[in-house]
């Protein structure tokens, strides 16, 4: 039996355990924040966050410098959508927490927060197939735990605050090095007000069999979530990290602006899986980049569903010989949504290889955009890039754009880029409907067929969830 058939049977068994859908995420609990930085962003906001978190001086300095960079940098509307101008930085709340430390046991997590994550299925998933979980509620982690045997092997999995304080010797040399503060306006914003996110260190030669997972939950209106994740995989180690995100549907816009830095040292392998299911008023402006040293591999496996605007271009800097970088991305843009995603592949050593496969689906009045950058400098040899981007349009009001940029210097390299746009044709729909499927089912099947080869790249538990999310989106969009 093929893999597909296996997932189809597993669907029934695992459905309970991994039941996350849009409607499931659409609930909220009353706020009971002990610490609230208030609205708007000034030097005082930054100091407030530093004080609450009891940041060391070097972090305070880092944040203030970043705030200046954020203020000085213009919005990138010379190439990006003007919708960015609708973000009102003065009404956003930059830090909210109940002042509790992350708990090691779900039993110690406050009842409303526990209920939130239970409704999202996190504790069940942890029992089923995860090596460790961190669950963030607004600005801070409410729960953080990793299997004991991993701790014994020296694996560190905690939030960024704990990382920079308890593990400064490992944390600090890489922090802000893969993505400098000034990389873009939103990386600067994150650097000024970051809170939460994961710090992970995998010691030499340790290969995690089960994934680590983080879950990011926005509970409060007008809140800005700015988690900061740093993953360091030491020589020859392997880790898969998965993140999920949801927010309830508020009347007003919410901002999520994360920075994620990955460091894969010699021969290490990091896979970073995202299944994002934001409600459609979230601005999701995320900077993600990995550094791959000699023989190392960084893979971004990314699924973007929901949000008002997502701008996300995961990248890999291949700094060591034979390093590999990969971005596998699925984006679904429904009415009122703009998925502006892509990939950056920077080849900085000989015989490095990168691969980008992006598939986008535009439904109703949704818009998807692919932006890519591939750079192969002079005096290198044997670098290869392959980029494929395919777009599926479901309705005449939807829109898709593709803007890759490929620079190759020297003749000892090979790059290729292909893109296509297609539709679910009337003939195909009629054919499927003649077999008894209604329009929504037929659309879902066509869409799942379109992304099927990429869905297989996700861990099985996630691929099932992903198909269900897409079914939900499609059912709501037809008829």
């Amino acid at each position: 039996m093929s893999y597909q058939d296996a997932t189809a049977t597993l669907d029934l068994e695992t459905r309970e355990a991994i039941d996350i859908d849009r409607s499931k995420g659409d609930f909220t609990f009353p706020e009971r924040n002990k610490f609230d930085a208030g609205r708007g962003l000034t030097d005082k906001t930054v100091d407030y966050i530093c004080d609450v978190k009891n940041d060391p001086d070097w972090v305070r300095e880092f944040r203030h410098k970043a705030l200046k960079v954020f203020r000085d940098k213009p919005m990138p509307t010379n190439w990006a959508t003007k919708d960015l101008e609708n973000i009102d930085f003065d009404v956003i709340r930059y830090y909210l927490s109940d002042g509790e430390k992350p708990k090691r046991s779900w039993a110690d997590v406050p009842a409303d927060v526990l209920e939130t994550f239970e409704r999202l299925g996190i504790p069940q998933q942890e029992r089923a197939f995860l090596a460790g979980v961190e669950a963030q509620f607004d600005s801070e982690a409410a729960y953080s735990n990793v299997k004991e045997e991993l701790t014994k092997q020296g694996v560190i999995f905690c939030n960024s605050t704990e990382g920079l304080k308890e593990h400064e010797a490992i944390f600090r040399p890489w922090f802000g090095k893969v993505i400098p503060t000034g990389d873009n306006k939103f990386s600067a914003l994150n650097s000024a007000v970051f809170s939460g996110g994961s710090f992970i260190y995998i010691p030499k030669g340790v290969k995690l069999k089960q994934p680590l997972q983080a879950y990011f939950r926005i509970n409060s209106e007008n809140f800005g979530q700015f988690e900061r994740t740093l993953i360091i995989a030491d020589e020859g180690s392997e880790v898969m990290y998965m993140e999920g995100c949801t927010a309830p549907k508020f009347e007003t816009a919410t901002l999520h602006s994360a920075v994620v830095e990955l460091v894969a040292l010699k021969g290490a392998k990091i896979q970073y899986v995202t299944v994002q299911n934001w409600s459609s008023n979230v601005f999701n402006l995320v900077t993600k980049r990995g550094l791959a040293m000699e023989d190392a591999e960084v893979r971004w496996i990314d699924c973007n569903i929901g949000s008002r605007l997502t701008m996300k271009y995961p990248g890999v800097i291949m700094k060591g010989e034979r390093a590999r970088g990969e971005v596998i991305s699925i984006a679904l843009a429904n009415t009122g949504q703009h998925q502006d995603t892509g990939a950056k592949m920077i080849h900085a050593a000989n015989n490095t290889t990168s691969n980008v496969v992006s598939k986008s689906i535009s439904v109703g009045e949704g818009r998807s955009t692919y932006r890519g950058q591939v750079f192969i400098p002079k005096h290198l040899k044997g670098c290869r890039n392959n980029t494929e981007c395919d777009a599926l349009l479901i309705n005449s009001n939807s829109r898709t754009d593709t803007y890759p940029a490929i620079t190759v210097k020297g003749n000892r390299h090979a790059t290729q880029h292909e893109a296509s746009v297609s539709q679910v044709s009337e003939d195909m729909l009629f054919y499927m409907q003649q077999r008894g499927l209604n329009q929504g089912q037929a659309m879902s099947l066509a869409v799942n067929g379109f992304i099927n080869d990429l869905v297989r790249e996700f861990p099985m538990e996630y691929s099932v969830e992903l198909k269900r999310l897409i079914d939900l989106e499609m059912e709501g969009s037809v008829g």
């Binding site: 039996m1 093929s2 597909q4 058939d5 189809a8 049977t9 029934l12 044709s425 009337e426 003939d427 195909m428 009629f430 054919y431 499927m432 409907q433 003649q434 077999r435 008894g436 499927l437 209604n438 329009q439 089912q441 037929a442 099947l445 066509a446 799942n448 067929g449 379109f450 992304i451 099927n452 080869d453």
Partner: protein, 250 residues
Amino acid sequence: MSLHIQDLHATLEDGTEILKGVTLDIPQGEVHAIMGPNGSGKSTLSKVIAGNEGYVVTAGTVTLDGAEIFGMSTDERSRAGIFLAFQYPSEVPGVSNANFIRAALQARLPKGVDIDAVAYYKNLYAKMDLLEMDRKFTARAVNEGFSGGEKKRNEILQMMMLEPKYCILDETDSGLDIDALKIVAKGVNAMRSPERGMLLITHYQRLLDYIKPDHVHVMAEGRIVRSGGPELAHELEKYGYDFLKEAAFA
């Protein structure tokens, strides 16, 4: 109990009339064949019955065991028991045959009831064996990269799996070599039953050597111009369609 077509008129979206009053009754247990030259409206008839939105019904009715079907969507008609084997089956990229047929079967079950996977595969493999199809076929995407013969066999397989009340086979013989035709005919003949009505649409008499019809109709310029027994097909083979056209206007 029958699939009954009464004085059916249909046009293209631009108003061109293709069906100009077709009346036909296909009772359960019978196999009917419609023959006719290209452009006579045979394929249109099958698409209109299935509910293709490219055509506008301007007059007439089609009833399925007494129930009017024009208020029903394509998929509702399918679930009510009408099956169309397409002349040009569509490709569905990325969706495997096994999942596609399973989804179609699932659509026929009440909410909350799931298909028994083991029984499903057992049934599927048995039907595939009958049609001499390779097991690898289940994992291939629907019709993608299929030869003409494979596509037609796949249509028959779907028909056998969905067990419709009425089957319409649109030019299922076109593009088949004799061996493939025999296999397809074997599948169709296995489906013949006192509870099932069939309509074969074909340009050539050849198919009818392998699937013996109870009645043969000739269609020309949007109407049934003659009906008779199996011998009518042989007459057509002998004299060609021109003689019938004359008969139509005689």
